[in-house]
């Protein structure tokens, strides 16, 4: 299978902290791959390293077969890699339309950009309604939609989605993930998704990795992960109950 992204033995420092300790992942064409992990596992560091905001100390990143480790984000955006950052990070005083236009900063084809803005509005109708409103005045969910829409504007082949569910209501999370799946199918965008919400992430994804303290500790198809005891216990919160109907000791993770 064709890999859009390949990461091999990546090591990145976040200040003095070694946040990634040799991570290798593969993201095949047209799939949604998710990376699960708790706070501080290194998920966001991995995303930032792939998108060029951080430089790795060791390791190789291949994007469509070309090495991209250590390159600047503006170059990578042109190559078709979009990063939708954690916490939305919209431009608060720019209007929705201007935010979207900034997403297409690396492109020069006015007509096509206008078409793509319409496409984003079709996926997120609320954005069309609010196109002249400053982005900072919108609700968290709307800002998340704008952030994803803005990421689409560079016509990416690979989209890095960093915690799109952050701070949103369960209903809104469902809505956003439905659209993410549609984008994947209809626009053919390959998606690398980072999530803490393992349930929704695994339902949307084809394949998943579990990241813990800078290492990949588990990998498998989304189905396999959903049914794995470890994932169920530690990420989905289905605690196994003993004979007396209550948990009497903390189970150890089997991957240790």
């Amino acid at each position: 299978m064709n890999n859009v992204l390949e990461v091999r033995n990546l090591e990145t420092f976040y200040g003095p902290v070694m946040a990634l300790r040799g991570v290798s992942i593969e993201v095949p064409q047209g799939q949604i791959v998710t990376i699960l992990g708790a706070n501080g596992a290194g998920k966001t560091t991995l995303m930032k390293t792939v998108s060029g905001a951080l430089s790795p100390n060791k390791g190789v990143i291949l994007f469509h077969g070309d090495r991209i480790d250590g390159k600047e984000p503006d170059e990578l955006v042109k190559k078709g890699l979009a990063h939708v950052p954690e916490g939305r990070e919209v431009f608060p005083f720019l209007t929705v339309a201007e935010n979207l236009a900034m997403g297409a900063y690396t492109r020069n084809d006015r007509v096509e950009i206008a078409k793509d803005i319409e496409m984003v509005y079709d996926y997120f109708p609320i954005l069309r309604e609010r196109r002249n409103q400053p982005a900072g005045t919108m609700s968290g969910g709307q800002q998340q939609m704008l952030s994803i829409g803005r990421g689409l504007m560079s016509r990416p082949t690979l989209m890095l989605l960093d915690e799109p569910s952050l701070g949103l209501s369960p209903l809104l999370v469902q809505e956003i993930f439905t659209i993410v799946r549609r984008l994947n199918r209809e626009q053919g965008v390959t998606i690398l998704l980072v999530e803490q919400n393992a349930q929704v992430a695994l339902q949307a994804a084809d394949y998943g990795y579990v990241l813990e303290i800078g290492r990949i500790v588990m990998a498998g198809s989304a189905e396999k992960l959903l049914n794995s005891d470890d994932i169920r216990e530690f990420y989905l919160g289905h605690g196994s109950s003993g004979d007396r109907g209550e948990k009497r000791w903390k189970r150890k993770k089997t991957w240790r």
Partner: protein, 292 residues
């Protein structure tokens, strides 16, 4: 009539303060640090204007000289960011404050060595000419300053609101990290902001030199007053900078006219103090809230 007369000359002065304050705000928004050499950039721009326009130097027409000075200062600003300030990119903001203060000293000494320490004035085609307007006598220089400021600020407004680069500059100042992710070349945009602030400083400097004499230390006092204007307007707002400048410009002549002597020079700072107490964010503060 007297009041109107004072008001017009105050507005003309205020325009120059406003333009200089605009330079402060441009840099502050782009880098979140204050460029304390802004006043000295105005001084340098003024001397450049004198050099290209005055008959004992290069004797160019006024408008051509103005453009030449603006272009040179624009290149100066760009190179300053490219060669000096990028070296301290990522350092604490204090590093840049100290650096710009040092730069101010350098520019003052450079100007003193090159043009001497005696005041020089610019030979402009409208020096000494007066417009009579329904009983008002307006020095032509003041009228030119006001018109030029209006033209410059409107074009700046359209640049920031309508052009791709202008909107990108706003984006960079609002969320630098996101701008970086969008593929906006943040560092190059910052260099262009420095160039722009150099251009604005040069235009303000040439206009100021056409009104009064210039000497190497002019920029220091002027810069502090314009900084007060920028603070009054709210350091993050371009319209606020202009409004703050106008306010300072207008308050000054009125205070020296109607208050006991000595109050005139204090008035701008008293105003700044008052604004800081009553509205700490400045008159045109942009209130920003991040939703989680």
């Amino acid at each position: 009539m007297d009041i109107l007369q004072l008001l017009i000359s105050g507005i003309a002065n205020g325009c120059i303060y406003g333009l200089l304050a605009l330079g402060f705000v441009l840099i502050y928004k782009a880098t979140e640090a204050v460029n304390f050499a802004q006043g000295d950039m105005l001084m340098l721009g003024a001397f450049l204007g004198i050099t290209v326009i005055n008959s004992n130097y290069m004797d160019m027409p006024f408008l051509a000289g103005l453009i030449a000075a603006a272009v040179v200062m624009g290149i100066f600003g760009y190179l300053l960011d490219r060669l000096v300030l990028r070296g301290i990119f990522g350092q604490p903001q204090f590093a840049m404050v100290i650096l710009t203060i040092a730069l101010g000293f350098l520019l003052r000494f450079f100007a003193g060595v090159t043009w001497g320490y005696d005041p020089i004035s610019l030979e402009s085609p409208f020096a000494g000419r007066i417009l009579e307007l329904g009983g008002l006598t307006i020095p032509m220089v003041d009228a030119v300053i006001i018109v030029a400021t209006v033209l410059l600020t409107t074009s700046l407004y359209f640049f920031f609101a309508r052009t791709r680069l202008g909107v990108a500059m706003q984006a960079c100042s609002q969320n630098q990290m996101a701008a970086y992710y969008m593929g906006i070349p943040v560092k190059r945009v910052n260099a262009i902001v420095w160039a722009l602030s150099g251009v604005v400083a040069a235009i303000a400097g040439v206009l100021f030199a056409a009104k009064g004499a210039i000497e190497p230390s002019t920029g220091l006092i002027f810069g502090i007053k314009a900084f007060a204007a920028a603070v009054i307007g709210g350091l993050g707002s371009l319209p606020g900078a202009l409004a703050g400048g106008l306010l300072v410009g207008v308050v000054e002549p009125f205070a020296s006219r109607y208050l006991p002597s000595g109050f005139g020079p204090i008035a701008p700072y008293a105003l700044m103090l008052m604004v800081l107490v009553l509205r700490p964010g400045g008159l045109f503060a942009q209130i920003k809230q991040k939703k989680v």
